[in-house]
C-alpha cells in the first residue's frame, strides 16, 4: 500500500481519483470509528465522516507535511463530531448500534461467562458510551488508534496533562463500574 505522501502528491498534481479512493479506503475505518464513537449514530456518523474527507480534500493543499495526514484528518473528524454534538442535531438515544441488551444486574453473574472476552468487551463498550464525547474521543484515539498522549492532545486541542488526567479518570470509571457489575468477583478486574 502506498504511503500517504505519495497518494497526496498524486491527488494534488494530477487530480488522481484512484489515489483519492486509496486514501479514503486507508483511513475510512479510523475516521468513521472516531466519529461513530462520539456521535453514537450510524447514519449521522457516516454523513459526518464523508464531510470530514471532503473538507480534508478541499484543504489538502494547505497541509504542510503530507506524512501527517492521519492526525490532521482525525483532528478534523473530532472537531466536526463535537460541532455536531453541540448543534444537538444528533438524537443520542436514537438508533444505537452500540446498545446492548439490558442485563439483569440482580441475577448472579456466571463467573465463567464474565471471563469470556466478548462479554467483557461488550461491557466496556457499554460503559464507554457513558463517558463524555471528549473522553470517548480521547479513549478512541489512545486505545484504538494507538496514538501517544502528545498526539491525542494535538488532535483534541488539550494539554498533555489534561489528556493524561482524562485518561486516568476514564480508566478509573471503567474499572469501578466493572467491579460493581461483577459484585463479589472483583478479582476479575
Amino acid at each position: 500500500m502506498q504511503n500517504d505522501r505519495n497518494l497526496i502528491v498524486k491527488i494534488l498534481e494530477s487530480g488522481s481519483e484512484h489515489a483519492l479512493m486509496m486514501l479514503v479506503r486507508k483511513h475510512e475505518r479510523s475516521v468513521y470509528n472516531l466519529v461513530f464513537r462520539i456521535l453514537k449514530n450510524k447514519e449521522v456518523a457516516e454523513e459526518v465522516a464523508q464531510d470530514v474527507f471532503l473538507k480534508s480534500f478541499k484543504e489538502l493543499k494547505h497541509l504542510e507535511d503530507p506524512s501527517k495526514y492521519k492526525p490532521w484528518l482525525l483532528k478534523i473528524a473530532y472537531r466536526k463530531s463535537i460541532d455536531r454534538v453541540r448543534l444537538k442535531k444528533v438524537q443520542m438515544a436514537e438508533i444505537d448500534e452500540l446498545s446492548i441488551p439490558v442485563e439483569n444486574h440482580n441475577a448472579t453473574p456466571d463467573p465463567l461467562e464474565l471471563l469470556q472476552k466478548e462479554q467483557l468487551k461488550q461491557q466496556v463498550e457499554e460503559l464507554l458510551e457513558q463517558l463524555s464525547e471528549v473522553d470517548r474521543g480521547i479513549m478512541t484515539l489512545y486505545y484504538l488508534e494507538d496514538f501517544k498522549v502528545a498526539e491525542v492532545a494535538a488532535v483534541i486541542g488539550l494539554s498533555e496533562n489534561n489528556v493524561k488526567i482524562k485518561l486516568m479518570r476514564a480508566r478509573a470509571f471503567l474499572k469501578n463500574e466493572l467491579i460493581q457489575r461483577s459484585t463479589g468477583k472483583e478479582d476479575l478486574y
Binding site: E17, V24, A45, E125, Y143, L144, L188
Partner: protein
C-alpha cells in the same frame, strides 16, 4: 493484583472492534468530491493527442509534396545516385513508417479501451 486488573482493562480497551462504514463509503466520498467544484484540479493529458498530431503532420507534408509535384515536376529533385541522399531517404522513410505504425497501434488501443 491491582496491576493485573489494570492490564485486563487496558487489553480489552485495545482489542475493541473498530466500527466500519458502509461498503460503498469510499465511492460516496468520491462522488461528493466529483460534484464539488475546485477539489480535483486535473491537468490536461497531452499524450493521446500526440499520435493525432503526428498523423496530421505527416498528412500535411504529403499534401504539400503532392502540390509541389503537380505544379512543377522539378520542384523536388532527388538524386538517388548520391549515397548520402539514399541513406537519408531510407532513414526518414523508416522513421515515418515506424511513427505511423506506433501511432496507429496507440490509437487502436485507445479506441479499444
Amino acid at each position: 493484583m491491582k496491576q493485573q486488573k489494570e492490564d485486563i482493562l487496558e487489553k480489552t480497551l485495545r482489542e475493541l472492534d473498530l466500527k466500519t462504514p458502509s461498503i460503498d463509503f469510499s465511492h460516496k466520498v468520491l462522488h461528493q468530491v466529483q460534484v464539488t467544484k475546485g477539489i480535483l484540479r486535473k491537468r490536461k493529458n497531452y499524450l493521446p493527442v500526440i499520435p493525432k498530431i503526428l498523423m496530421g503532420g505527416f498528412g500535411l507534408i504529403i499534401v504539400i509534396f503532392s502540390f509541389l509535384l503537380l505544379k512543377n515536376m522539378d520542384a523536388i529533385e532527388l538524386n538517388f545516385e548520391n549515397q548520402l541522399t539514399s541513406f537519408l531517404i531510407i532513414t526518414v522513410s523508416t522513421m515515418i513508417g515506424w511513427l505511423c505504425f506506433v501511432s496507429t497501434d496507440w490509437m487502436i488501443r485507445k479506441i479499444a479501451t
